[in-house]
Each structure stands twice: as structure tokens, then as C-alpha cells.
Symmetry: C2
Subunit: 247 residues, 2 copies
């Protein structure tokens, strides 16, 4: 941020004072954060939405969000919203981008910054008592309030890309998971069917899974081994990760 127009039309850098004047002027804008909170349950990818009670958007669902406070980092806003909504901290959180059409919000000019978050539904389950809040299957999400459909679509695409390039998906799973659960997760996120043997081969070849020496319990079939992701090894190896199949 550092532009002004000189009288002759050639722009140059602004002085601190000039900028301060502008920053303190009425030239300010309401800024919000909206979170696309993903969960994985019953082999479906879910998103947490709240029912809008605005007349304009009667009975439409919307993302969780709030205004950014002037003394709060942008990321901190997103964490605060998640904490308020899920009671959880230490969540996977990633900024996607800003959405800033002039008329995107009926309450006036509000620019919003979209984040998505990945949460482990097991730990979270107890928290949603509020019946205004619901988990929705991602493929039945449509016609959201405001521009939230566009925001959701953008975030979902970003997630699809992300899980292929980084070990992000594990945040959606319980701490201990079977390879079947991992594969179901990828299939749900990417919307594809994957070959079981090739899927296992790929993950074992990466060598980032720790065999916990435990097996599933209470499954009506042969129990699978349980694993966890080796974040340490991943960090040490410079976060190299080979891509997963195609979209």
C-alpha cells in the first residue's frame, strides 16, 4: 500500500503521514472472516453451516463468520470463530482468498476473507447442541446465502487440490485410522473411486504412516491395522509429498 497521484498525474510513493490520514479517514471498510468447516463422517465429506435468520436470505444456509476486530490478526479471527463454534483449538486452518464485491452483503460494504478448516468429527461431536447449526453433505450444498456458494465452491476446490499435494486430509480423520478410512476419505473429497491396491502401494511407498500395532475393534469383518501419520518424518524430509491420483 503506497500510491498517490502527483499533481502531474505520475504516481509516487506516499508519505507515512499521508497514509495515516487516509487510514484514519472514513475510507475504511468492514472486514469479516468466513469459515468453511469441513468434517468427515459416515464416509461423507461434510460442511458445517448455520441457518441465516435474515429476511433477505430466509431459510438459506450460510457459512460461519464474524467481523474482524481492529486489534486482532486475520488468522486469529478465524481461530476465534472456530473456537466459538466448535470449542476446539489447534485446528487445521488455511486462508483461501478474499471476496470483495461491493454488493456482496446486504448490510453494506463488507469484504470477507475465506478460510477453510478441517476438523475431526469424533472429537467434535458433542459440541453441536444448537439446532441452527448442521452438518451438510458437500454435494448437497447449494443455494447458500450471500455469495457463500461461490466461497464454498472455491474453498472446496482448494481443499481437493490441497489433499493431493499435502498431507492435509489426516486432520479430518481420528488419530488412529485404517487404510480403508484413509481411502474413503480421499474418495469422498475427490469424488472418485480409487484402486485399493494402488492406493495402499502409494501410501506405503511414501513411508509416512506409522503402524501402531493395533487393529480396529467392533467391525463386522476382518479388522484392519491402525496407523497414524508421521508428521516428524514429513517435516524432516522437507515436506516432500508425491501427488495422489487424479481429480
Amino acid at each position: 500500500m503506497s500510491v498517490k497521484q502527483k499533481p502531474d498525474g505520475i504516481p509516487t510513493a506516499k508519505s507515512l503521514k499521508a497514509i495515516q490520514t487516509e487510514v484514519e479517514s472514513s475510507n475504511r471498510i468492514a472486514l469479516s472472516v468466513d469459515c468453511v468447516i469441513f468434517g468427515f463422517d459416515e464416509n461423507k465429506l461434510k460442511v458445517l453451516l448455520i441457518r441465516s435468520d435474515m429476511k433477505t436470505y430466509q431459510d438459506k444456509w450460510s457459512l460461519l463468520g464474524d467481523l474482524v476486530r481492529p486489534d486482532e490478526d486475520l488468522d486469529a479471527s478465524a481461530y476465534r470463530i472456530l473456537k466459538q463454534r466448535t470449542g476446539l483449538s489447534d485446528l487445521y486452518l488455511e486462508q483461501v482468498q478474499a471476496f470483495g464485491k461491493v454488493n456482496r452483503h446486504p448490510a453494506g460494504r463488507v469484504v470477507t476473507v475465506a478460510y477453510y478448516s478441517l476438523i475431526n468429527v469424533q472429537h467434535h461431536k458433542l459440541k453441536i447442541l444448537d439446532n441452527e447449526l448442521h452438518w451438510h453433505d458437500v454435494d448437497s450444498v447449494k443455494d447458500l446465502a450471500f455469495d457463500h456458494q461461490e466461497i464454498f465452491n472455491t474453498c472446496y476446490s482448494r481443499l481437493q487440490k490441497r489433499v493431493q499435494e499435502h498431507p492435509a486430509g489426516f486432520s479430518l480423520l481420528p488419530n488412529k485410522f485404517s487404510l480403508r478410512e484413509l481411502q474413503n476419505l480421499y474418495e469422498a473429497i475427490l469424488g472418485v473411486k480409487l484402486d485399493r491396491r494402488n492406493f495402499r502401494k502409494k501410501f506405503f511407498a511414501m513411508d509416512f504412516l506409522i503402524d501402531l500395532g493395533e487393529i480396529e475393534v467392533n467391525v463386522p469383518h476382518r479388522p484392519g491395522k491402525l496407523y497414524k501419520f508421521n508428521y516428524n518424518k514429513y517435516e524432516k524430509r522437507g515436506k516432500k509429498w508425491v501427488g495422489i491420483d487424479f481429480l
Copy 2:
């Protein structure tokens, strides 16, 4: 954006009125756009920077930016800045993300949204008369003012990824270009050496280059054929693009 706290601590959706009150309150924040303007000249990837004249950042370079106006779409702000600075419209422009640490700017709380732009330096050359503005080799960019180094790094990484997945790089080239120029461009952006025969093979296999039936002039060696990118075919084929080599 749609959260409030009920008296009992369970958040629920806000009424339009409640939000309006907040939006109109002093809870607003200065919002800026900063542009990382890339150019390609003399086989080097360049970025356009301006000298900061703030005392705090004496003699440091910074990105081009300005405050977002309340009645202006976010993208429109970025276009406005580019237009002011380069005189060009119809530029390649892409939002990257927002940067919103509380103390990122000495003039007060300013959240900024970063964009990068790709411009064809040939057309642009005449415009920079202002000696506060300079093209810098991307690999000599360091120690920028504010948090602009971080913004630049993020945008540059995004560009590197982008040109491998989409036909974005052509915006940096003249309308008619030789395959050598195209390869030099990719090598400059990605910072790698590529095999000439394989590079050509890959681009010809994609079948998105139109042979213009013209050749280079004024080169001290055998002139190469000139091509342009076939955007129509790219659109029609559903924007499928196979990746370019590795990073």
C-alpha cells in the same frame, strides 16, 4: 459473516439489523491492495517496485498498492492500481490472498489483499518515466518494506505453480513469440534448465500453439518460427492443460 453470541454463550446467526449496526460502527479497518507486477525482459523475470519514502523504510523498495475505495470491487482496485502505474488495462491479474497481521503497517491497522499481474514489457516499456519505479530481477528482490517481502515470496510461489498448471505465462510474452523465448520464460520463472527437445515436444503435443508462418527478424542466427497461443482451442477443450516439468 453471520455470528453473534447469545447471552448463554451459544452463538447463533445475527439479524440484518445487528450486522448493519456493526458494519456502520467504528469496527472498520483500512483495506488496501498490493500488486506484484511481473514482467519478462532480457530473459529475466522482473518485478516492478517503487521506492518507499517513509522514514521507517528509508531506501527500501515496496510493492505498488493503494487503499480500496468503499464503492469499488476488490478486483477493480487492483485494476485501477495497474492502470495508474502501467497505463495498461486488460492485464492478467490474479488475487493471491490477504495479509492481515495487526502491526504489518506503521500507519495503523491496514489489511491488504495481494494480487499479482503479468505484463508484456514490450508494450509497457515507454510508460515508466518516474525514476521512483524500477524493474528488479526477481532473484535480487530482498528486504522489501513492510511485510512486502513475504507478500512477494507468496506471490512468486503462486506464479511458479500457476504457469505449470495453466497457460498464464503467455501474458508475459509478446503476442508473437518463438519457442526459445517461451522456454527462456519457463526457465526464468521456475529457475531450472529444461531440455530443448523435450520442451518443444511437450508444447507441440498439447497442440495449443498456432504457427503464424512468420519468423524472427534481426537475430544473429537462424531465425525461429513465431507462434501465438490458441486461447480459443484451450477454452473449447475445457481448459485441460498438462503440467510442465518439475520445479
